[in-house]
Each structure stands twice: as C-alpha cells, then as structure tokens.
Symmetry: none
Subunit: 222 residues, 2 copies
DNA sequence: CAAAAATGTGATAAATATATGAAAAAAAGA
DNA sequence: TCTTTTTTTCATATATTTATCACATTTTTG
C-alpha cells in the first residue's frame, strides 16, 4: 500500500511517515505540488495526504492535476477548520480532511478507513487454490470454506502478506496481536498449531524456522 | 545499541530502562538537558528518548544542542497532545513522539522501527552462487536450500559480513554467541567443522588461520 | 626428528526448542 | 446469567541443537 505525503514541512512529513511505516505502508514524500504530480505519475500510489498551504503550487491545484492522471483517494491537511469550507467550493473529490494540529494516530485511523472503503485490489491473497478473501473475511481451499477462528484468520493473513519471509514470534505478536500484548511468546506456537490443523493439505505451508519463528513458504513461481 | 533516556522523573526513567534492558539495549540516563548533552558527547549514543518538560534546560533546547554534536534519532515524550503543536514551531528533526502516559511496549516498538529504518541492514550476502538471505532466514547454493542449524546460520552470516578478515575465536564467540558466553573456545572449531560439512563445494571457503582463528576467503572480483 | 602445540573430527550427554493435548481463563453470544 | 466459543497458558512428549570431550591429525618448534 503506497502512500504519498505532500507537505512542505519536513517535520510534519517525518512524523506522519513514522506512523505510516509502523503500519507497514510504503511511504513517498513530496515537498510541493509539482513533485507530488511527478511521483504519482511514476509510481503506483494508492493514497495521497496533501497539505493545502504550500509554496510553488498549492494543494488545490495539485489535486486537480493528479485527478487527471489517476483516481486515488485524498486526505487533506489544512491548518484551520475554516479552510475546509473552501474545499467545498472546489469540486474536488476529497475523501477526508484533517486539521492541524492533528493526532498522527487519528490520521492513521482515517487512512485505514479510506483504504477499507476504496481498496479493491489486494483483497485476495492466493496460493494455488488457497485463497484468503479480505472483503468476505474468509478463507477457502477451492470452493470449500475453512472455519477459522478470528486469530487464525489474522495470523494466516499476516503470513500471506509476508510470503517467504521468516517471521519471529515477536514480530508476529506485534503485528497480529498488537504491541500491547503482554502474554507468552509461545502462544504463537499454539495458534500456528491450530492454524495448521485448519489448513488441511496446506498444513505444511507454514514452516518452522528453528531458533527464529515461522515462515509461509511458497514455491518460486517464475 | 545505546539509548539515552532523558527525563527528570527517575520513576519514568526506571520504567523505560527496565523495558529497554529486556531488549538488550545499553541504557544511559540523564535527568536534565545539560547532562544529556554531556553523555551524548562522551558516549556513542544511537538514539535519544527525551522528555520535553524538564527543569534547567528544557527538551527543545537540549535537542537543538545535541543536533549540533551528532545526528541521531530522537523520540519525544510529551505530557499532552497539545504540545505537539509546539514541536512544529521548532525545526527539530524529531523522529517520533509519544504522549504520556505511554505504554512502554509501544515505546519499544517505535524504537525498533526507527532503528530498523536508520540502519537498514543488508538482506542478501552473496559469494558466487552461495547466498545468505536474511529475510527468508535461509542459505542457498544455487537453488538448493541448505539445512543449517541456527548457530551455523549465525556463524556463516558473521563470516559473510566479514569477508577476508581473519576472525579470532574470541571475536567469533563475542559476536555470534554473545558477550555472556563462558564456555570453551574450541566450541568454535566444532561449529566451523559442522558448517564446513554443510557448505558442500564451498567447504574450503572458511580457511583456518593458524594460531589465530578463521577467515571467510573470497577471490577478488574487481 | 621428536616433542609440543594447534586444529580436525566423531561421539554423546546436556541443553534447548518446538509440537501437542488438555485445562484454565477470557470473550462472545444467547 | 448461562452456554458456547475462542484464546491463553501449561505440562509433557518429541525433536533438534549445542557444548564438551577424547583422540586423531597436522603443523610448528626446538
């Protein structure tokens, strides 16, 4: 998921970037409207966070131009609430707006909400006839739906988002349980066990990496 | 990895310290800005966690001074979200900020994220068709995956990170086993033996340096 | 060349890591 | 509330890895 942050203040970009990286988004930066247009045209950006007040080419203008290139969601950063009125005046398809000063956490929450709403790619993770369907929130092998518990589902999703990457128990807990999980690391083992049992013929796709963690291993498909 | 905690409240320092030590970071403490500056100038600190509200010299000032000495990442602790506004005013390169009260686990998570980003480690070490893939946590010769034990993997990684450098048993133990290993130096020999056996046609790439240790020798490829 | 020192190697006991079943605890539903 | 499901923890079984030792082999030293 690629996000472009367009703001002339490097400090603000950095703060936002930190938070987005924590959520494993890929982050691009632009310091003015022109740069933003360039980046959008050369990269497959999924969402733009745009400051309105910028030198060179302001946010309104930049959004107009980008809209010509590609239909992607925008989140507007504006210094004060009043400016939001102006946005109405323009017929820009703004998906959300956040006033400065903002809470980065709130921003992230909104991004997620938008992504959920607009995202239509990347909702299927596949390996052969094993399919994890994010929208339907279900996993199938062929036509047969698997009965997974919520944790099993989340865990499998994390694995399928990180194919062929060895994941430590710590990283798994962090990403599937959240940073505030205070329990035993071995909990992961148990869930891997139950997930494997649920995966039928694919039970061995989750490989133990001794001394390290686990890995979702797929055959090279080149 | 050395982290400096700068906060006037000893209680908060202790809590943070506790968690950082668990993660095997080396922890330094300062109770005010001046002390922080001293510590940074005399030690090779990698990251600073700084409280904003402090007597003597406040966090803003301290960060400014430290930035003059050394470019290191900062994480700000501020009492309330509103203070984040102030940070805008200053042109400080803040890498992240956390509002009190905070979860130590979250703090640790952010530190890790920053560390990961600032040092971005190489993920592939190669010699001819011998490849050590850090992400996948595996070693291949051509397409064939080698079955290495964790120690063999770590040892090979250390060798490949130090090509053509003669490594003493002591240095190897220190870096692969850790400073707290109290066993026999000859243990290294045994692991070199098993590693060589696992390396197939590359078994002789690890050369014995008599009276000294071992060396991963590659032909010059210039 | 013989003795001493250093390294190579096979065997193995001890340590460590993972798999798994079952029970306790927590959360979700009715 | 009671029931059911899910999650976590725990104990035990199984598997793997590691460290050490003894002895073989090689190299160096005197």
């Amino acid at each position: 998921m690629k996000i472009l942050i367009c703001d002339d203040e490097v400090l603000i970009r950095n703060v936002i970037k930190e938070y987005l990286l924590l959520e494993h988004y890929e982050v691009y930066e632009a310091s003015d409207g022109e740069e933003a247009i360039n980046i959008v045209s050369n990269n497959n950006i999924d969402l733009v966070i745009m400051d309105i007040m910028m030198p060179k080419m302001d946010g309104y203008q930049a959004i107009k131009e980008i809209k010509k290139i590609k239909a992607i969601p925008f989140i507007i950063l504006s210094a004060r609430g009043e400016e939001f009125d102006k946005l109405y005046g323009f017929d820009l398809g703004i998906d959300d707006y956040v006033t400065k000063p903002f809470s980065p956490k709130e921003l992230v929450a909104r991004i997620k909400a938008i992504m959920k709403r607009t995202q239509n790619e990347d909702v299927l993770y596949k390996y052969e006839d094993l399919v994890l369907d994010v929208l339907a929130h279900e996993v199938r092998i062929g036509n047969k739906k698997l009965e997974l518990t919520p944790k099993e589902y989340d865990l499998l999703k994390y694995f399928m988002q990180n194919k062929n990457i060895a994941l430590s128990r710590e990283a798994i807990l962090m990403n599937v349980w959240g940073y505030d999980f205070y329990g035993d690391e071995r909990t992961v083992d148990t869930h891997v066990k139950t997930l494997r049992n649920s995966l039928g013929k694919y039970r061995d796709i989750i490989v133990t990496v001794r001394g390290m963690g686990y890995k979702f291993v797929v055959k090279e498909t080149n």
